[in-house]
């Protein structure tokens, strides 16, 4: 570079440098001026920070009736040493708490420093007690969960304990959404160095609106209770589903419990047997076998088979439940008479590969994905499993030797009702977070079988239900249904003919189903067979629901008067 250019470069570089120094000097001046202000003191210890509890979200049914809500109650306690007039205090308390004043007097005269008088006192009672301004009485607020309808739909709802732990059902599944976010405050300094608190308000939990309908739920629980009582069953389960959407309209398990108090003889009552326990479905499962075979083309509606009363599969004999031979039999009679030999013949014709492929399509052995806590996938042995035996192909075809949950069973039946389209079952229809509403839309799992196969099976099931119309039928409506009776293996491995699981599954109106119902009675003592034990419960629910939902009779609906 020549010297003139070098000199210019040098000059201009100096100018730029001077500009930088100017800005740097400004920053330093600012820094120095900050030193002139009074020093900022350290913040107080962080244990002064407090957290603020959010309100747990409420649960409503499909029409907005309250099913679960959180309120504040008070735990009443006393410091006897600080009470001046024990006698009059006990008298006043007895009026508010509706307890004998003598009991309270005894309580207060114990020689302790701290006495718990009563837990869960209501807001009004606590307000009254505190308004006396008597020393020595304390009321500590606490959040609690109230279920205004008592045991209604408790198997789906679950509960929240006093310590705030959500257990079972929707409460457990949606604990994060319902629970909300706690608020808190942290100490801070304002610009003048004064102590201030920054407050982050709690975010209240989300309100849930269910697909369950309080009225239908009540009808289902009443019918199931009558069924359990009249048959002396050890347990009753009923699930009602809208086959078009997968929405669960009602779900009941007996014996039940009151989620407010949760006094039970056995904690296994808390388990929702409709989704968390599997049973052997018995002959109801033949519906699945037949619809799969129709869809696979193994059989058609006019197919027949020869029923000799007994066939050997994998070296084991398969017999009809009536132990009779029925000769040349149609598929229609196979289902109507519930012939084990028939379904074993059909599954044998399908072959293990196809049969189990259809079971997987219907999602047996898999979770349905319902939004309830503790769902179980049941238990299906597939070929390839070392415990699988050739004879399982036959026994599985009529619902023995496998275990499914009532929810899996009704989902599969609902898929047949819904023209072969399987929907994901769900119970929460809407989440409301303040002003933000999230609707849950029905979700198609897949087309399991063809619409033709499904409607053929529906026709057969209408015929099957008509043969026992006095027990399961509803006059004026076409009802499709199938019963099931499965044997229960006793602990010794044998079979007791009096120990059965009786069930009935069906849907109505058959041509345009509005609901699908599954009723399962565990070990009914007075009636052992599916139709006779569970059929009347199905009939009662179906009849009531058709009128509750305002479904016109078939002749009005189709216009054939």
């Amino acid at each position: 570079m020549n010297s003139a250019r070098q000199a210019q470069l040098y000059r201009r570089m100096l100018a730029v440098g001077a500009f930088f120094l100017l800005i740097g000097g400004l920053a330093v001046a600012k820094l120095a001026s900050l030193q002139g202000l009074p020093a900022v003191q350290a913040l107080p210890e962080s244990d002064e920070s407090r957290s603020f509890e959010p309100q747990r979200g409420s649960i409503f049914d499909a029409h907005g009736y309250l099913l679960a809500v959180s309120t504040t109650v008070y735990d009443l306690a006393a410091l006897p040493a600080n009470i001046t007039d024990t006698l009059s205090t006990a008298g006043l308390l007895s009026e508010v708490l509706h307890r004998p004043s003598l009991d309270l007097l005894q309580l207060l005269q114990q020689g302790k420093t701290y006495i718990r008088i009563q837990r869960g006192v209501s807001q009004e009672q606590a307000d009254t007690i505190l308004s006396w301004k008597r020393s020595g009485l304390q009321a500590e607020p606490r959040s609690t969960r109230v279920y205004p309808n008592g045991a209604l739909a408790v198997c789906a709802l679950g509960f929240v304990t006093e310590s705030g732990v959500a257990s079972h059902g929707i409460e457990a599944k949606y604990d994060d959404e319902l629970g909300g976010e706690p608020g808190y405050r942290v100490p801070d300094r304002d610009s003048m160095g004064g102590l201030v608190y920054r407050y982050y308000p709690p975010h209240d939990g989300v309100d849930l609106y269910l697909t369950l309908d309080r009225n239908i739920q009540h009808v289902v629980e009443q019918a199931l209770e009558r069924g359990v009582r009249s048959t002396m069953a050890s347990k009753g389960i009923a699930v009602v589903m809208d086959p078009r959407t997968g929405a669960i309209l009602a779900m009941a398990v007996l014996p039940d419990y009151d989620p407010n108090t949760r006094i039970v003889s056995d904690e296994s009552i808390f388990v929702n047997s409709a989704v968390s326990e599997a049973y052997e479905p018995g002959s109801v499962f033949k519906v699945i076998t037949v619809v799969s075979a129709l869809d696979a083309g193994t059989i058609n509606a006019s197919s027949t088979y020869y029923d000799s009363g007994e066939i050997l599969v994998g070296g084991r004999p398969i017999r009809n439940s009536d132990l009779k031979a029925h000769g040349e039999t149609s598929i229609r009679d196979l289902l109507a008479k519930s012939l084990n030999v028939g379904s074993a013949t059909v599954s044998g014709r399908m072959g293990a590969k196809k049969f189990y492929e259809y079971l997987s399509r219907f999602r047996f052995g898999q979770l349905t994905g319902i939004d309830l806590a503790l769902e179980t996938s049941g238990w299906v042995r597939m070929p390839g499993n070392p415990e699988w035996h050739e004879s399982d192909l036959a026994t599985n075809s009529y619902g023995q030797g496998l275990a499914v949950t009532p929810l899996q069973m009704i989902s599969a039946i609902a898929a047949v009702a819904n023209h072969g389209v399987m929907m994901r079952p769900y119970v929460v229809a809407r989440q409301v977070d303040g002003s933000q509403v999230t609707e849950v839309s029905p979700q198609v799992l897949r087309q399991v079988v063809s619409s033709e196969a499904a409607s053929e099976v529906t026709d057969i099931l209408v015929y099957a239900a008509e043969t026992v119309a006095d027990i399961v039928g509803v006059s004026g409506y076409s009802v499709a249904g199938k019963s099931g009776t499965s044997e229960v293996y006793t602990s010794s491995g044998g079979v007791d003919p009096n120990e059965t699981v009786a069930s009935f599954a069906g849907y109505a109106p058959a041509d345009d189903p509005r609901f699908a119902i599954l009723v399962v009675l565990d070990r009914p003592q007075l009636e052992h067979y599916g139709t006779r034990a569970a059929g009347p419960v199905f009939q009662e629910i179906a009849e009531e629901m058709l009128s509750l939902m305002g479904v016109p009779p078939d002749n009005v609906r189709t216009g054939n008067r």
Partner: protein, 392 residues
């Protein structure tokens, strides 16, 4: 006539040492700033990894011949423009997810790339730079396009930095002062329009003028920063003892200076400022002693970039200038930022290595007007016509 350049082993060691010290200090401060976070160690380990890559980039840039950079200036500029346009179409993946440190920030690459291109474009201009058609207009168009793309991202801080660096280079290269003043006025007008058009930029300027206005939103940041600086006092509360750093927005990147201020006090701040002063002083010295005009402008550009970025960060974080989201070079967390500033330092070191025999060097002055690959750098029809005119 070709300059007899000789690459020596005598690097500018004070410069290198300052940079290394700042990077190590930065890792320390990032650890302190993020200490209460769950992911603190992740940030520190990532920054260490970035530093390793960055030192690799620094070594590479210090070893290659500046002529290679000059030859590749146009493709580098092309990549910069493509990257900026790409970010616009990808939906601002750069700026928005920048905090996570997961994405590449193309503006950081553009800062160095644009300096290289500016140096390559300015170097052969010589006295023509005073001519408006060859100097100011192409300069304004080029700067307008690049800054416009960055403002659209939107990253006004980076655009201001690039514009400032480019102006400084234009000035150092010998621009006409009157033209420059005019363009600065024009730039100020554009900046004014931008600030009034972009709501957040306008808020920041208002808060700068009156820090107590809007204490809950924009003013909140600057209040937190000033509280942290004040609580540090003269000697600070001790490394890791900061309390108000936890309430700073982005204490590991855009607001790392108040963390330094709270924990090491005003003394610590002045030392950090001093180290930047040393780096910039060495950079300018390297520029003045550079073997050729390109290298000189390159070194001047990188020095101005580092100086401006450090000043905008520090001045913004002391309320001496409006607050902008700009990282503190070598110190703040951020892969793209650290790697590219270290590469810039590598460029300075590379220029410092090259010594030229004085007499040969003088003759290079006359090589300005030669068409030494000038057409590779900028091709406008008008200039080609100019060459034809000259040849005649």
């Amino acid at each position: 006539m070709i300059a007899r350049r000789k690459a020596t082993k005598s690097l500018d060691y004070p410069l290198m040492l300052s940079v290394v010290v700042l990077v190590i200090f930065g890792i320390m401060m990032i650890f302190s700033a993020t200490f209460t976070w769950k992911t603190s160690t992740t940030f520190v380990l990532k920054q260490v990894a970035f530093a390793v890559v960055g030192f690799g980039a620094m070594a590479f840039m210090s070893l290659i011949d500046q002529h290679i950079l000059r030859r590749w200036a146009l493709p580098i500029m092309g990549i910069c423009v493509v990257a900026l346009v790409g970010v616009l179409f990808m939906g601002g993946g750069g700026t928005s997810s920048w905090v996570s440190g997961a994405s590449v920030q193309p503006t950081e690459f553009v800062k160095l790339g644009f300096i290289i291109y500016m140096a390559a474009w300015l170097a052969p201009q010589g006295g023509r730079i005073r001519d408006i058609t060859y100097g100011l207009i192409p300069f304004a168009v080029l700067l307008g396009v690049v800054c416009g793309l960055i403002v659209l991202e939107p990253d006004v801080g980076a655009a201001v930095l690039i514009a400032g660096t480019a102006l400084a280079m234009f000035f150092i290269a010998g621009a006409d002062i009157k033209q420059l003043l005019f363009s600065i006025l024009l730039g100020a007008a554009v900046l004014y329009i931008l600030v009034s058009a972009l709501p957040y930029a306008g808020d920041r300027v208002r808060v700068f003028i009156d820090p107590s206005s809007d204490p809950l939103r924009t003013g909140y940041q600057i209040q937190r920063i000033l509280t942290a600086l004040r609580s540090g006092g003269m000697f600070g509360r001790g490394l890791g003892n900061g309390e108000f750093k936890q309430m700073l927005p982005l204490p590991h990147t855009d607001a790392i200076f108040p963390v330094i201020g709270e924990e090491l006090g005003m003394v610590g701040c002045l030392v950090v400022l001093g180290v930047y002063g040393l780096i910039v002083w060495r950079g300018m010295k390297i520029s003045i002693n550079a073997p050729d005009v390109f290298s000189s402008l390159l070194a001047a550009g990188v020095s101005c970039w580092i100086a401006l970025q450090a000043l905008v960060h520090i001045a913004g974080n002391t309320a001496a200038l409006p607050y902008t989201g700009v990282t503190l070079p070598f110190v703040s967390y951020g892969g793209s930022s650290l790697i590219m500033t270290l590469a810039g330092a590598g460029v300075l070191l590379g220029v410092s290595r090259v010594k030229v025999d004085k007499q040969v060097a003088a003759s290079t002055t006359f090589a300005f007007g030669r068409r030494n690959r000038r057409t590779r750098v900028s091709r406008t029809g008008r200039r080609r016509g100019m060459e034809a005119h000259r040849r005649r």
